[in-house]
Symmetry: C2
């Protein structure tokens, strides 16, 4: 998606350790017009799949999921992050290891809002190790829901998450795939 | 806002301790069409104020802020919650005491994205003690930004937050104000 790649080049900031900050338009301050373009792109990819729900994870995924859910005309559902194991019986829960923070957390959704009749697109801002996305696929499996696709804004193509999810058989639509970043700020997109 | 009150009566669930669960349409699973109606209501309230940014707090406020920002044609900015005090020099940070969890946390925003030229509407899903909202007003003060209004979906009118914010001089627009709830599920709205 050229619009997103151009915006990353214009407003993204690269820091040592393959860190890309896009907090001016994607995950802290948010350009809602860009989110709507992103939502439309995910709609184009999965519009014929009978989608009933857009699933994401708090917090950065919510604005993206909001625009995507609007494009599909379906509700969004965001998984909550918690370090507590005491979650009760009315939720599905999976453990995710955070690469950034080097610790485990739980992702949970209420059983009320996802079931075997649902056909889901999962969306998020970044895909790197893929751990959070794999956690969300596990929640869908517990609920018996069908995952029609995974929509990602920025995939770090030099990390294994995208490859792993595709090898698991999922359709992954990444709007910008970064093949390499250098500490002096050069970003190379996959063509 | 009759649409929101009706939805609360239809899909809200009351639990002992004045707990109102609206996770079927407002803050876990989210009805994006309803969010757009809410965003339009906040736009009507503050459309003549020269608003430059919609501010909220993760996670439940983000979908509401997304629809509100779309109505205004401005970016949204969401404050992050963190228990860390080690936040660096490039952020504004305030301490909030959580009534629900009985502990303190930090709310932070990057200095890059709020300044003295900004005119802000702050939005959130619930207003009860008002602690989170007061934290966000403190961030705006640090940045020198003007707060034109505070837009709330559901105000618990029997708690002090709304009264306190209005006494501080803020314009608070609450779309549904609950005057009382009983453990058997009866909800009385302020007329």
């Amino acid at each position: 998606m050229k619009l997103l790649e151009d915006r990353i080049l214009k407003d993204g900031r690269v820091y040592p350790g393959n860190i890309l900050k896009v907090d001016g338009f994607l995950n802290h301050q948010i350009d809602v017009g860009l989110m709507d373009q992103i939502g439309s792109a995910f709609y184009e990819a999965y519009k014929d799949c009978g989608i009933t729900k857009i699933l994401t994870i708090e917090a950065s995924g919510i604005a993206i999921a909001s625009s995507t859910a609007r494009a599909f005309g379906v509700p969004l559902l965001f998984a909550k992050k918690s370090r507590s194991l005491n979650l009760g019986n009315d939720v599905y829960s999976a453990t995710v290891t955070s690469f950034t923070y080097q610790k485990d957390y739980q992702v949970t959704i209420s059983k009320r809002y996802l079931n075997e009749n649902d056909r889901v697109v999962i969306v998020d801002d970044f895909l790197a190790t893929g751990n959070a996305m794999i956690g969300l696929t596990e929640l869908c499996k517990m609920a018996g829901a069908t995952i029609s696709g995974i929509g990602i804004c920025i995939e770090k193509g030099f990390q294994e998450g995208g490859k792993e999810l595709r090898e698991m058989g999922y359709s992954v639509t990444s709007l910008a795939v970064i093949d390499s970043m250098t500490d002096d700020g050069k970003i190379v997109f996959r063509s």
